[in-house]
């Protein structure tokens, strides 16, 4: 193998030319030889600092040790004990700012490819026959609102603890952002489906097409339906718009709409499927987070000749995973940094024809500590485009909070919940994931779901001690 021990073992990938035009996964995954080689790079630190960087504290050293020893079943068991979604997190965690950022190898050399190894073990597990049986032993049932990562993990954990759990999902399929947002080429739906099948095998019931706050209220769940506890994992799915002129022209999408049409509704397979999407020759995506990167690379795959990122700050402030940024460059995405959109221009027939922009420069740091972009005078120009996709952030959907009394939220609409337990301002109602933090990450959502599951278990076990007097501490 032509790699030195100081370098990360490269991930085999599909060629950039080919993959820019298909929806197959970009990363092929390690072979057993890659995995063994990479696992050997781990120093087996006495104080594995990598673990501090992982929001759910996977015993990283120990699972990597099992990989090095060829004990995949052991590695898989360790991983699952801490993270119920390893195949997903191995693929989508921003490792460079979490576990791998802390790794001791990282000082002088490349950090150990923890994410790639996690993915390897989880994918190995997927090839094994799984003997899962429902182990529901408790009688008090629990309702989960939303089938995104936080809800799925909370449900899985509660089922493992023996509780009968029902997940209510508004859409027709479970998965949350993992289904409608993150594209197939980064996270194949087969992996998500496999995780969901495991949950079902554990006895978790998933009821789609039920919108809590509309079909049923939260109080119906705890009241007439008799759930002993509720976990809210409704995410932060409400797209923001810029409010610039021309934003309502045809051909302008929120990233959520663009990605939902293509991922959830499978517009890439139109007309075999019924939902259309109109992708022109030149597509501008505004923003530079994971969502923007997914949208711009999806535009290429939908046939755009030129797909570009337009961002008012510089690449330093970009929040997307580094790997996705590199993949986007390889695939031919173009980047307009320090460029702020002012107006979408009408082609005369109500369709987007261009994006009027102005150049920016970085000024003094703002409240977020990042240098504030300020306009450069007389720097306006027009990018000719057929589509504009807005990926400038999302906030929690107010559907549930509007229809539920007594659920405290922040000014930004995020649910108030106790850090350690997820307990909200309502008795026996817990929450976690993006609905509490605002748009964040899969692993943070999963971690919150898991913590809440244990808090729910503890609360129910303490029931004899009249839990209703316990107050959230905020």
């Amino acid at each position: 193998m032509p790699v030195r021990r100081t370098d990360k073992t490269p991930m085999p990938v599909q060629g950039a030319q080919a993959r820019a035009h298909n929806f197959l996964e970009v990363n092929d995954g390690y072979s057993i030889a890659h995995a063994a080689f990479e696992a050997e790079r781990c120093l087996r630190c006495q104080h594995p600092v990598c673990v501090d960087g992982c929001p759910v504290h996977i015993p990283i050293r120990d699972f990597i040790h099992e990989v090095a020893a060829g004990h995949m079943a052991g590695a898989a068991r360790i991983l699952r004990s801490a993270n119920p979604l390893p195949a997903i997190c191995g693929r989508v965690c921003p490792q460079e700012s979490q576990c791998e950022a802390e790794c001791s190898m990282g000082g002088r050399f490349d950090p150990v490819a923890i994410g790639h190894l996690e993915r390897y073990v989880a994918d190995w597990e997927r090839t094994q026959p799984l003997a899962i049986e429902s182990a529901i032993t408790e009688t008090q049932k629990i309702a989960i609102i939303g089938a995104g990562p936080s809800g799925l993990v909370c449900a899985g954990e509660l089922a493992r603890l023996g509780y009968p759990v029902t997940i209510y999902e508004a859409l027709h399929a479970p998965g949350g952002v993992l289904r409608y947002g993150i594209p197939e080429f980064r996270l194949p739906k087969a992996i998500l489906d496999w995780e969901i099948d495991i949950l079902k095998a554990k006895g978790v019931e998933i009821v789609c097409n039920v919108i809590i706050g509309k079909t049923l209220t939260l109080d119906d769940l705890t009241g007439k339906l008799g759930y002993a506890a509720v976990f809210i994992g409704t995410g932060a799915g409400l797209p923001q718009f810029l409010g610039i002129p021309g934003e309502n022209l045809n051909g302008v999408y929120s990233a959520n709409e663009f990605l939902t049409r293509i991922n959830l509704m499978r517009a890439y397979d139109f007309p075999n499927t019924d939902t259309p999407v109109r992708v022109g020759k030149r597509v501008a995506v505004i923003g530079a987070g994971n969502t923007a990167m997914d949208a711009v690379r999806t535009a290429l795959r939908m046939g755009a000749d030129e797909a570009m990122i337009v961002y008012r700050r510089s690449d330093e402030e970009m929040s997307a995973r580094v790997e996705e940024y590199h993949h986007a460059i390889e695939e031919g995405v173009t980047f307009h940094w320090l460029t702020s959109p002012l107006e979408v221009i009408d082609d005369g027939g109500g369709w987007a024809a261009g994006l009027r922009c102005q150049r920016m420069q970085l000024g003094e740091p703002d409240a977020s500590g990042r240098r504030r972009p300020v306009p450069i005078p007389d720097s306006e120009f027009v990018l000719p485009v057929d589509n504009v996709v807005l990926a400038i952030g999302t906030t929690p959907n107010p559907l549930l909070t509007r229809t539920t009394s007594g659920l405290a939220t922040t000014a930004k609409g995020c649910l108030l919940a106790d850090d350690a337990t997820g307990l909200t301002s309502k008795t026996m109602v817990f929450a976690g994931g993006d609905a509490v933090t605002g748009a964040a990450t899969v692993i943070l959502a999963a971690g919150a779901g898991k913590r809440a599951a244990h808090a729910i278990d503890a609360a129910l076990r303490a029931n004899g001690r009249d839990y209703s007097t316990t107050e959230a501490s905020f």
Partner: protein
């Protein structure tokens, strides 16, 4: 899966369905809608809840063939099932008791007035329903609406039933004091051109007017923003904030343009869906 308990052809292009949907029936309010899907890979389309029966656990919808999905729905019969039905979505029609309410319906919009007019009559409002269509055979639910509103007035373009002319013509006469007299509020549900014409008819008289906007929708839960409608200069999501909005504040030009974004693709999908139950004759009601 949601079972169809009854299916009844109302016109060559509209069909009424009663669905077994106890949870939706239990909380539905006038003006709300459901998102439905007919098949795997199918589109999610919004359809208004025309009526509901809480005791029986059923809702009634009326679907008009417009393209691929509505055509597939209209090919279904009693005993068949819809793959997904989610709701009730949107906000209920928000109108305090006013005195005299006039509902104006065109196309499938007439169906949407059914539970609304019944409730307003029960609340003690005086109620008048104006129904419009090109010709007599396209008028739907006139008898049912007659049972739940004080008066029903029918308008046809060709004069084959009721008054000859547009619903707005009749509405103007009511405002002038004819028939059941000037309404204190108007709720118009139908093709966008009709709703806009109603808005223009009531505007000079300062009569509170609501219209039920039907932009393209994807999720129906506030997640995509595709359904945004400009109301009073602000972008509002029809699936959450609406679908009913103040008619005098709605930007109809933008709304009409946005609803035509996929004409080309819709034609392809529609041709593929075939003539399951006869080709749609376009909008079955008058344009304005």
């Amino acid at each position: 899966m949601t079972r169809i308990l009854d299916a009844r052809q109302l016109t060559p292009v509209t069909k009424l369905f009663r669905l077994e949907a106890p949870l939706i029936a239990a909380s539905a309010r006038p003006g709300q809608f459901v998102m439905l899907r007919v098949r795997e890979g199918g589109e999610r389309i919004p359809i208004t809840i025309a009526d509901y029966d809480r005791a029986a656990g059923t809702i009634t919808i009326v679907v008009q063939e417009a393209g691929a999905t509505t055509r597939r729905v209209c090919a279904l019969e009693s005993g068949d099932s819809l793959l997904d039905v989610a709701g009730p979505l949107g906000s209920e029609i928000d109108l305090p008791p006013v005195g005299h309410i006039c509902g104006v319906g065109g196309g499938f919009g007439s169906a949407a007035l059914l539970c609304f007019m019944r409730e307003r009559s029960a609340l003690g409002d005086k109620t008048t329903t104006i129904l419009g269509a090109r010709t007599r055979e396209l008028i739907i639910l006139a008898d049912e609406l007659a049972r739940v509103s004080g008066a029903v007035e029918i308008c046809t373009d060709d004069g084959s039933a009721g008054f000859r002319g547009l619903v707005t013509g009749r509405l103007a006469r009511l405002i002038a004091g004819e028939g059941s007299g000037r309404p204190d509020a108007v709720v118009a549900i139908g093709p966008m051109a009709m709703m806009r014409a109603v808005a223009e008819t009531t505007r000079p008289h300062g009569i509170r007017t609501l219209v039920s906007m039907d932009p393209l929708m994807v999720d129906g839960t506030g997640m995509c923003g595709g359904c945004r409608v400009t109301v009073g200069g602000q972008a509002r999501f029809a699936c959450v904030d609406g679908p009913c909005f103040d008619a005098h504040e709605v930007d109809f030009d933008t709304a009409m343009r946005r609803s035509k974004a996929y004409v080309r693709e819709e034609k392809i999908a529609s041709d593929r869906a075939g003539c399951a139950s006869g080709r749609s004759g376009g909008h079955a009601s008058q344009a304005h």
